[in-house]
Symmetry: C2
Subunit: 576 residues, 2 copies
Amino acid sequence: FWADRIAANQAAIPVGRQRLVEAGNIGNLRVAAGEQAGAARGAVFWDSDVFKWMEAAAWEYARSPDPELRGHLSELTATVAAAQDGDGYLNSVLRLRGEPRYTQLWMSHELYNAGHLFQAAVAAARATGDNTLLDVAVRFADHLADTFGPGERGELEGHPGVETGLVELYRETDERRYLDLAAYFIDARGHGRATKPGFDPSHYADPAHYADRVPIREAANLEGHAVRAVYFALGATDVAIETGDAELFDAVRRLFDATAARKQHVTGGVGSRWDGEAFGDDYELPPDRAYAETCAAIGMLQWAWRLLLATGEAKYADQMERILYNAVLPAVSLTEAEYFYVNTLHRRTGARPDVQRSPSNGRRPWFNCACCPPNIMRTLASLPAYVATGSLDQLQIHQYAEGALRSGDFAVDVRTAYPWDGRVVVTVREAPAHPVELALRVPQWSEATVDGERVAAGGYARTSRVFRPGDQVVLELDLTPRLIVADQRVDATRGCVAVARGPLVYAVEQPEHPDAVIEDLRLDPAAPIHPEPRPDLLSGVTVLRSADLTLIPYYAWANRGPHAMRIWLPTLENHR
Amino acid sequence: FWADRIAANQAAIPVGRQRLVEAGNIGNLRVAAGEQAGAARGAVFWDSDVFKWMEAAAWEYARSPDPELRGHLSELTATVAAAQDGDGYLNSVLRLRGEPRYTQLWMSHELYNAGHLFQAAVAAARATGDNTLLDVAVRFADHLADTFGPGERGELEGHPGVETGLVELYRETDERRYLDLAAYFIDARGHGRATKPGFDPSHYADPAHYADRVPIREAANLEGHAVRAVYFALGATDVAIETGDAELFDAVRRLFDATAARKQHVTGGVGSRWDGEAFGDDYELPPDRAYAETCAAIGMLQWAWRLLLATGEAKYADQMERILYNAVLPAVSLTEAEYFYVNTLHRRTGARPDVQRSPSNGRRPWFNCACCPPNIMRTLASLPAYVATGSLDQLQIHQYAEGALRSGDFAVDVRTAYPWDGRVVVTVREAPAHPVELALRVPQWSEATVDGERVAAGGYARTSRVFRPGDQVVLELDLTPRLIVADQRVDATRGCVAVARGPLVYAVEQPEHPDAVIEDLRLDPAAPIHPEPRPDLLSGVTVLRSADLTLIPYYAWANRGPHAMRIWLPTLENHR
């Protein structure tokens, strides 16, 4: 399953570069590098889209070394290096505009850009062994460490993102100043120092918009701009883990769990308001006006990954699975390099697109604010890293996909038709002479068996022994379709159920119901639901049939045009 | 009932003038008039807030002649006259900024300002007999007629409003050019000529935002920015009526009915999206994120009034009643001059205000964009005009309030404790010798009796005879509380009911349920609902009791702080 998605992403990455050329992002850097003449196009944050693309290219090159891709990456790296100021600062747009640094930090994204540069640089160093971009990152990071921090400039950047980049750079370089600066940014926030100064009637004057209203250690909730809030929590998680700050770690874990309990859509996406691209109040989760920005889902994925690594708790791997299948994957077309910025859970009959990013347009090749497409590219390119973790005597498999896994001397092949089929066969290829623990995640939604023995839902089924090549461990997950009901306080889905099978959330879409008004369809919760493999449909899916309804996996919607679609299905009529 | 509201408005009008001074709107005009020095403050549309206040002052003066109010009105009139350019054009902000006219029509509101000036001028002429402001209006209108129209400038203003003002000015002056220009503006729209040119990823590039996507004769729906769409439809209705254009009249009537059927909240308010202050798609009516801007409700009220006058159909008077009690009145505090811009139907427990106009702030004294407060002032000041219509041998009573009514030689007194009590006693004070038809509206929601005889719900109960002084006609409306269920396609209120009594929509609010989470309250539709007069509460209301719930009239919410509140009450739990 994922191999097909990764292959499509492989094809999409060069297309993405071309679009960054056409939009002008790469041109800005080339002009700043002195490679060509021209004026700045777009916004200050446009450099970050290039850096995200470079990160995607690096991870993709690590996965599948393609010389042409490497050539493009090297060429861009040289451009970025040449565009850097002598003191390490780097921003092509401000340079081309002749505008000063750090004067509109609340909106400029200068440090956000740096964070993405750092992540790209670490990826490039690891993937290619070439440290050119890493050197650029180090110079920028040194400049930031000289400029911000205790006793230095007091303002903070409006858009978090630099924090996680600094920690990543610290991990790669062992330079403690970067971790210290990230830790400083985490605790400096929450006092309105990242907020637009002066009066503004809009959310630009709201500290919550910048994750800047309450210090994160005291926060009860994520609030405001969803991507900012999640990216900031992600950075705080990195800092907590690397510094061993248990209080901060408890805070971010509490925030994740609060978000999952009260502010997350059934798809795993977050963000309920178009206005301010924001979290709603608790239980404000409208399917039709869900914002569920792709970047926010990717942030949630990365955040869950860190919490999984730090705690080993299967619920975070469950979250990653839910988000990957139902919040990240829906954002990209099955076969075209086209993307959703906003991931609605309900496209109404007759819905009219009012803005560029409206999902009623269908997926689009690019956006004026193109944060999402290269974010998907880097996520899909780095997907293999999320599948399993291990140590000398352990292998934990978190996500089920066909492929080969290795942890030290322990190597296995995984064969499965997941998510269409619940059978996962792990065959040992190599094994050390000492005992190894093989841990297989059992999702919260599934009873399961391992080698025929029943294991509980939610957690890891562990098999510990001396394995021999050829040994097999067979996990059987229960993919019986299930009905999901929302919390009582969610009004927007009252009297409705969502249908899921395995990790996939399902939806009804107009093409299967050509004569119906999608809003008039009802699901009978008492009717049996039958899975039906349809290799011919939507690059191969298993549909679900319930009475006269046919449901498709949500991720596959809008691949036949932007039709009416909905996930939450009423089970009853409005009545007194 | 309404006498109290009008008295509060009388007190609020001088406060409103003071706030226009403090905010700077009046200062802009004074500087433009050469009365004082200074720089422009605020936006180009800020003049309109002054004109709306002047209209309110004029109607209020007509209702209750107060010399001090007249003095303020005269003083402001002189200022406005002095701020006018030699050729009739008038805008204080552009003049102070030295910026050219008509270069950013999609956003500048220059003609919208003119529309409000025209309405104020007609009100002032009728209320005071002083034509100074009318002369200013005529000079501006002549300038517009010379500047726009067939063969002249092709662009249109982004914010409708001038159309209804032009027709009002035509009615007062009989100058056909004004009606012709209004008619031109109506049919010129719908081809993207009012839309921001060039690419913009936001709704600013969406012709629907400007009511400019589809010619109004072909439109199936109101869409985009709610106030713009409603104001434009209002102007089109004026044009249709004054020109006798039956096709156009059918179109606006169809649009009103479509809006009422699919895009209107139970309160009568319209607008479902914060993003773009816009109508949603059909059936997109979220209580918690309802925008329901006060100005949009006032536009709907004025539109329904015009349709009532043109058709005599009681359903439009029903709409006016619903809007007045539940969409306009909730926007103003019971005793303070404080206002809602956004009229939510559900303030969630723990809701956090994110922007200045968030209803979670409670009502506010003023707004940076202060279109709503003076709009309420002019509406409440002109309320007596909406109560009844008549001719020599007819009197139609549309709204029930205590007071004296006259139509020719036929004069009556109305006594009622409506909306708390359903009994309306009409006592004839003077009557001509010939028969007169007295028509009393019977709302769609009420069975009724007139002088003990049953009359059908929905329509006018007509009594035609030769009346004598002292004759009484007694209307008894049925105020039994009723449960309202939304259309099946409205997801946001599925499994919920709203409770109404007479014209009033009710709500639960935290103060009556101090220990409950408002979201956890359930209404048992089988339980009886008991009205209970509470003269001590919220300036005197009748509350409703149902089992352990106590409901207050929605208009009175947020007068004890911005507490959790909701109109739509779940009757059941979420379940499969």
